[in-house]
Symmetry: C2
Subunit: 302 residues, 2 copies
């Protein structure tokens, strides 16, 4: 029987957990609790501990627990530092607290994007090399780097915030191509566009509408994704030049537009990079989708 | 008696070597040979080996040799990959070759900027933390990151090429603020400048002239360094966001203008970075100057 881990994905809306089969990635005993009601008790970490206790009682064979959290954590992976969605936990030594309550178990804490990136290595559809960059496109632009099959922590422990790199127009990358900014840009470009397009002109362009239009070859939709790809590509070049990593996974909700963003991304990479990088360059979509957070948390136990 | 190492700084013009006292950083038995004549023999690595043999014979107590080279090396630090100034050595497994000739000795190979960065830790004037970014301003903009007192290799082994990050004006950073580009910019700004300045208008502005003018408060010279600082600052923000390292050393020939560049650098960092980074931010000049390469090479032996 394959080893099983308890994976916990702490989000601003829900805390999800489940028993993950280390070989198949199958999730059983899935449980979700709304973050807000645990916060309201004033004892978020205790409530989390209670839920863990239930899981461990039902699954006595599980000895390792991985936890992904949406924010900054201490370099030694013991303490919550800045969890914007649950700020009252900032400074909480969550791992020592849980270890005290569950002394027979091992706990592993990681930032959720880092965990999701690592999850792609162990549970993704494709075999990955031991070094890759993971970038998530969504409301924000998040990221992680895996080096030697380990989460790259950088100096202070919280490496890889690509969304906050200076980009064009005096803005950071995610203020140029985050979901909301993308839609603002789309509606603005729609207003100025003179050609044929099926994109609505009343300011109601949605990301799904944009992707659908692009898949039908809509010229304006493709132009919009070209802007996104250009800015993303330039940002990726900086990451590649700093990290010397040329396998790149793109995840997050906006990665649905992957194939429409990629022509511009590839154009920028070819423009800026030398053969040393280009010969191993490989950019692809992340594969874990909805379960990325939970599987990523479990992958911390490997 | 303190341990001694042989430090070797392979440059495009000269190969310098010397016995380095691990405590004091004093260099004895200094020897320099022009790179070109060794290249002309067609046996560069053999010639280097001969020079090493002489040094080791004269200093039998030395058991470790550190070598810095100006280019890309293999991730396992055994082989020269792309040494632009000595391209005929590309692909040479220099460490196995030397180890075969000197089986009783240990050899350590590193990129020269990486070595110089590490040298600052062991031989610099100031106590450094275990994590810092090193940026050299010169004809190019080079760099290195030290994480946990070790050279950060990234994924492929050749991390930290900040000069090749996309910057403003559709150019990479070093094509904006490398020495020659800085002088082009200075002469261009001189042509457009209407105020009082002591900078010559005949296209003959030099970096020393620029620094001297800035030190006298020349408005145009300060404006020129403001441009450099703005672009450098934005580049540093990207490095900080990716690496989560907030101690930054500035070295290289142009670092003579450090104090005139810094106001703009600091302005950009304050603009882009959050308190998490700002509370530990520390930017200072590198201290090793001329001996950085040789001492850096020796520091690989620690």
């Amino acid at each position: 029987m394959a080893t099983e881990y308890l994976g916990i994905d702490v989000g601003g809306t829900n805390v999800k957990m489940g028993i993950v089969n280390a070989e198949s990635g199958n999730i059983t005993n899935f449980y979700s609790h709304d973050t807000g009601s645990w916060r309201a008790t004033g004892h978020f970490v205790d409530n989390l501990g209670d839920a863990i206790a239930v899981q461990l009682k039902e699954n006595p064979e599980v000895k390792k627990i991985g936890i992904g959290v949406p924010g900054l954590i201490s370099r030694d992976r013991s303490t919550l530092m800045e969890i914007t969605a649950i700020p009252e936990t900032d400074g909480t030594p969550i791992i020592p607290l849980l270890k005290k309550r569950f002394p027979e178990h091992d706990f592993f804490l990681e930032n959720d994007a880092n965990a999701a990136a690592l999850g792609e290595y162990y549970f993704g559809e494709e075999k990955l090399p031991e070094d890759y960059i993971f970038v998530t496109l969504g409301t924000g632009v998040g990221g992680a780097a895996i080096i030697d099959k380990l989460v790259f922590k950088g100096g202070g422990g919280n490496a890889m915030e690509p969304g906050h790199m200076p980009s064009a127009n005096g803005k950071v990358l995610e203020r140029n191509i985050g979901k909301n900014e993308l839609l603002d840009l789309a509606n603005k470009m729609r207003g100025e566009f003179k050609g044929e397009t099926r994109l609505p002109s009343d300011g109601s362009i949605s990301t799904t509408g944009l992707v659908a239009a692009a898949s039908d070859g809509d010229v304006l939709a493709l132009q919009i994704f070209d802007v996104v790809g250009t800015l993303l590509g330039d940002g990726l070049v900086s990451m590649i030049r700093i990290l010397d990593i040329t396998t790149i996974l793109i995840g997050g909700g906006l990665s649905a537009s992957f194939e429409y963003i990629m022509p511009a991304v590839n154009r920028q990479l070819k423009y800026w990079l030398t053969p040393y990088y280009m010969k191993t360059l490989d950019i692809k979509r992340a594969t874990l989708a909805n379960d990325a957070g939970l599987l990523g948390a479990a992958s911390l136990c490997f």
